[in-house]
Amino acid sequence: MASASSDEWRAVCDKFTNAQNLTVVESRNDPENDPFRSKYKARELLREIYCTLKSFEAGEGEEESGAESSEQRPTEPPVDGQREDGYGQGFSGDSPAGLRAAKLGAVEYYLGVNHVDTEELSAGQEHLMNCMKLLERCSVSSENVSLFIHVRNQLGILSAGWDETETAQGFLETAESIYQRYLKEDGSPPTDMTEYFTTEENMLTHQERTKRFELAYTHTMYYLAQVYKNLGETERAATYCHSTLQRQLQLNQFSPMEWALNAATLSQYYITKGLYMEGRHCLSAATVISDLAGEVPSEAAAQESETESERREQLRQKRAEIARCWIKYCLNVLQDSKKLLEDSIGELDTDRQEELKMARRREEEEEEKGRKSALLFGSEDTFDSIASLEEKVHCLLPLDFTEARAVFLVGQNYVTQAKEYFQMDGYVTDHIEILQDHSALFRALAFYEEDLERRCKMHKRRVDMLEPICSDLNAQYYLMIRRQMMFELAEIYNEMMDLKLTLANRQSDTESLDNHTINKFNHLCSASAKYFQMFLDSLCSPEGKIPEHLEEEVLRPALVARFRVARLYSRLISPSPSAQLENLDKSLEHYKYVVQYCEAHPEAAAAVETELELSTEMVGLLPLKMNRLKAKMVVNN
């Protein structure tokens, strides 16, 4: 500002510094009954600056009628997304006119943000649009690119708040393209807006300029992530979250624990989409970065100081959370591959297995390619540790027991880690969720195990971890969890029973089973029936009455449990015909319940089609069987 005396200019700079200070620092201490006091003061200062700038302009009396034209305010607001903004038009950003426009635009920008902060959104928008209009006449250069991006970020936020998501998307995407084009065509550290109003001696370093500029763009990405999320484009949203995280890491603007937890959470998005390579990468990065937060303070240290105790709590909790994300990774990998490999009766399909093994080589190559194209986390010093952590577990679906076991062991290791923090006493729900995952890991692994004896032992492990807890829980507060566990236990016992029977039949070709096997079989059978019955009892009213109407979320489980109990009773082996008759009678009763319930509630039939069909059949057949048995008893007597 050649014409303005340096004193005058210094006054403007002081005012600006003051306004910034009021906005950022002072405003935090405003009293409750006057929450925007400092911001209003800052607004006054900004207005004064605006007037001064205008007067300089008039004093210069230069070429344009620019002053008036901006007073007139064209009725049509510029809208982004319709054309490439800011390139190849108007006067260049570093010309005196361009600089003037940028400064005035910056004041409009700050006024806009000030109004938004004080909940005067429309006024805020007007100022921001004024800023856009001023910039419209300039081309993008290192002097104004930062403002170009900032003002669009703000307008994006504002539009999104008004549910104009597409408009917001327009502003933010333009900001993105301006950033990218600037980096390609210029790339020098751009002037920060605060520098417009600082004296020569207070200019920022190049490093600081880059930092601020990049941070503004990180925010653009972050806002875009939210816009895409709100538009329902989850895939794009995830990509932008990923980029935001990556930039935080690159620019060293993150707190390790928070970052790690976010990366771990993002992995959960990837694994639910079956993108295991990306999921694994996020998790490995999460583990490595969380280690940057340092060692967990010892218990002794925690007892001595409160900050240490808090730190200990935080670190332990967050690392346990990351471990839980890892567990889910392993579990999903195993379950997905199981789904791929199982035949119609849930056994390993060896033909399919061969086929997939043949296809494996190609996949490995693709993985390599994918890795190269993927957006990778890491700075120079973390890159290798992330990669080496990734190598510890496969991201391809395991195809045989050895591979499955490797994944299982990694998962089990994280189970131990997670349980260390999420103990039963204090974290009941979390602890049980981890146990359920552990059980599910075993279940998935058992699928690959060919030795039935060992498979049975795996199921026994599941029983051992779930059974004691199920009985310890308060039935009222943990109703849902207990129901889940009862059902699972019933199914495990059922599975074990089937395995024992297959084993026994394999060992002795003769039809009859020895007493020991029969006892074992009966034990497992009644245990399974017991847990199904417990589950059914949990549905009853406090007075023990069976509900007439089953709520939708328990409808299928309840009817299936009935059906299964019926089947279990009919399978119990008993030497005495009268006991057998009794069991068959119970079985019939449960089958009848299923049929009668579906008759009374026709809408239930769809939920249990197969079970209903079989039950109806059994209701017809069982009485015949019982009659034959009775007849035999009469003859024997």
Binding site: G161, E258, T265, Q268
Partner: protein, 670 residues
């Protein structure tokens, strides 16, 4: 909608609107944007910015209270039944919800000193303690209160003496008792005064904490928790404990509500963008929201603490407060929508009977232990006394049984008697000492020894007395914490007041049921209108369809006639053909007869062998006797029958061909 299940009931939602204040009145003639139909329980909201033609929004609630409503009305009608349930051992929750400045605090607290303006909380306190004092004397009560605040996802104990520097509390889960706040202060309250004091202490702590923070009150939730444990002998002779919990929740201003997600499922917020990168986790976890993954970001603390109240084991009342001024339209609409959604939350309240964590049981056991100790002590003292006295062995047995028979109520007397005994014993020992000293016949050292012994005995006695006193004090302190019913039962005025309250309760009940019936009627009305509407449109439809039907019927008749004609024609031609066929068959038979009788078999075979069918000319032809060069044999009748051509035979063949042709025609027609 009727509830599906008898044991479940939905959250009761009542709405209250405050009057326009002076400033708002002076703002213009626009007036209130909220209209209320008290009889139907409806709120009608007018959009001040929309054209008049736009339909107004109507919401129906369990009850609505307009600007003229009294505190007492709201309490009697909507809160009293809930507090009664709490006293019967249910969990109960009252939420106050609304934009800051809509009278939330007035509704919940009101003006404590003015009985007419007292809010829900003081009325509830009064209700609880009045109920206890009027209940039967075999009931024992223990009332505890806690007060906490949730600010920025941190749980703060408002009753902690050094609240200012206290660390936030942690939520924990125990296998036996579910979610709890670790180390939360809990105060036993014996009277209205005490519980009010507790509330005041907490309110002060809250105010102090708030001075250095903006918008504190509109961001923090305050929870006042009251636990009422009641023990009563059951029919089985054992004491049963019922625990009712009352949560009085002052939710943060509704303008912040969307972010805290109290309603169980997160409110779907408008497309607002989080500015701070610190919220990146929320964005990511929203993406990762899936069943098969683990999402480390937990439900809000408030949701976890009150999970029983929203879709769990509790009876819940939500009081939503509205501002009637036009400038509050958006917030008012948000509040109404939120309240409307809350109506759908179903709870399954159950009486909490004999829970493991009941403090009352612990107290009772402690008291019983102390009492046993006291008894033991008394018995020992008695024995000692008897040793000293060296007499009264027979009396001992009596006393023992007497002691056993002693009623709980007599315990205090017993303790006092005991103290007297001590004094007596001491006096006697003193007397004996005196005696010994005065006994001049005794040897000096013997005297000294006896005196020392007496001295020691007195010391022991004193120590024991102190211990007993301590024990008694402890016992009394413990017991005083328990409230016993029946203290005011004889009070006649109370009796009358009780009746009055009963009547008031009845009236409130009736108002409520009336409103319910009104609401149902409205629904029925709508249904009827709907039916009628469909009826008129059906009429029109029938007419249109009939017309179409007639047209189609005529067309159908035409086509039918056509078909009939064709059929007739076919029948006729078939009959003709049959006739021809019959004739032909007859003639054929005749010819065969001739052949058989007149043509020798070898001749016949010869002829047959020479016959071939020429598809091109569609004729039977004779192969020449001498193979010709041509591949196709030409039928030459003259060659076949060189001597005398049989007319008859020729004809037969001809007819056979025509017949074949006709047959083919028939097939084609078919």
């Amino acid at each position: 909608v009727m509830s599906k299940n008898k044991s479940s009931e939905s959250v009761k939602v009542v709405v209250r609107c405050r009057p326009l204040n002076r400033k708002e009145e002076s703002n213009g003639p626009a007036g209130s944007i909220v209209q209320m139909d008290l009889r139907l329980g409806q709120v009608i909201l007018r959009n001040p910015r929309a054209p008049v033609s736009e339909p107004q929004k109507t919401f129906t609630f369990d009850a609505v209270y307009d600007a003229n409503s009294k505190q007492g009305d709201l309490y009697d009608e909507s809160v009293r039944p809930l507090i009664d349930s709490v006293l019967a051992g249910f969990n109960g929750t009252i939420f106050a919800y609304g934009q800051t400045g809509t009278g939330k605090t007035y509704t919940m607290q009101g003006a404590w000193m003015d009985p007419q303006k007292r809010g829900v909380i003081p009325n509830a306190f009064d209700h609880i303690f009045t109920h206890i004092s009027r209940s039967q004397s075999d009931k024992q009560y223990l009332v505890r209160a806690s007060y906490l605040e949730i600010y920025l996802e941190e749980v703060l104990d408002l009753l902690d003496p050094n609240h200012g520097n206290a660390r936030p509390l942690e939520l924990r889960e125990s296998p036996e008792s579910g979610v709890y706040v670790r180390d939360l202060t809990s105060c036993v309250c014996k009277s209205i005064k005490e519980i009010e004091e507790v509330m005041n202490v907490g309110n002060q702590a809250r105010a102090v904490a708030a001075t250095d923070m903006n918008e504190h009150s509109s961001r923090s939730h305050a929870l006042f928790l009251i636990t009422v444990e009641c023990s009563q002998p059951g029919p089985d002779g054992r004491k049963h404990i019922r625990v009712g919990r009352l949560n009085l929740v002052d939710l943060a201003g509704s303008e912040r509500q969307a972010k805290t997600g109290v309603q169980g499922e997160r409110l779907k917020e408008a497309a607002k963008i989080n500015l701070s990168l610190s919220a990146l986790g929320n964005v990511i976890s929203a993406l990762a929201d899936g069943r098969s993954g683990h999402v480390p970001y937990r439900d809000s603390k408030l949701t976890r603490l009150l999970q029983d109240s929203l879709g769990g084991n509790a009876k819940t009342v939500m009081v939503a407060t509205l501002g009637p001024a036009p400038q509050h339209y958006d917030e008012t609409l948000t509040t109404l929508r939120y309240a409307n959604r809350a109506k759908n939350i179903q709870n399954q309240p159950r009486v909490n009977e004999d829970p493991k964590d009941a403090l009352l049981r612990e107290f009772q056991m402690e008291i019983a232990r102390l009492r046993a100790q006291l008894h033991h002590r008394k018995w020992r003292t008695k024995q000692k006394k008897e040793q000293v006295d060296g007499e009264g062995w027979e009396r001992d047995g009596d006393e023992e049984t007497e002691g056993e028979e002693e009623d709980e109520e007599d315990e205090e007397e017993g303790v006092e008697k005991e103290a007297e005994e001590y004094v007596k014993q001491e006096q006697r020992l003193e007397r004996e000492k005196q005696d010994i000293r005065e006994d001049q016949f005794m040897l000096a050292d013997e005297k000294q020894r006896l005196l020392g012994e007496k001295e020691r005995m007195m010391g022991v006695l004193r120590k024991e007395q102190e211990a007993t006193e301590q024990l008694t004090a402890k016992y009394k302190a413990m017991e005083s914490k328990l409230l016993v019913g029946g203290k005011n039962i004889i009070d006649h005025t109370n009796e009358q007041q009780k009746m009055l309250e009963g009547k008031r309760h009845e009236i409130a009940e009736q108002t409520r049921s009336e409103r319910e019936i009104q609401q149902q009627m409205l629904v029925r009305d709508e249904e009827t209108v709907e039916l009628r509407e469909t009826f008129t449109s059906l009429q029109q439809e029938v007419e249109a369809k009939t017309k179409k039907l007639k047209k189609l019927y005529a067309k159908l008749q035409c086509i039918k006639a056509e078909i009939q004609d064709v059929n007739d024609e076919h029948v006729r031609s078939r009959q003709e053909l049959e006739q021809t066929q019959n004739e032909l068959t007859r003639e054929l038979k005749f010819k065969y007869l001739i052949i058989e009788n007149f043509i020798p078999p070898e001749e016949k075979n010869k002829i047959m062998n020479r016959l071939t069918f020429d598809p091109e000319e569609d004729q039977w032809k004779f192969q020449p006797l001498v193979p010709a060069e041509r591949s196709v044999w030409v039928l030459d009748v003259g060659m076949l029958f060189p001597s005398e051509p049989s007319d008859m035979y020729f004809k037969t063949l001809q007819i056979l061909w025509t017949l074949q042709e006709k047959r083919e025609n028939i097939i084609i027609v078919k």
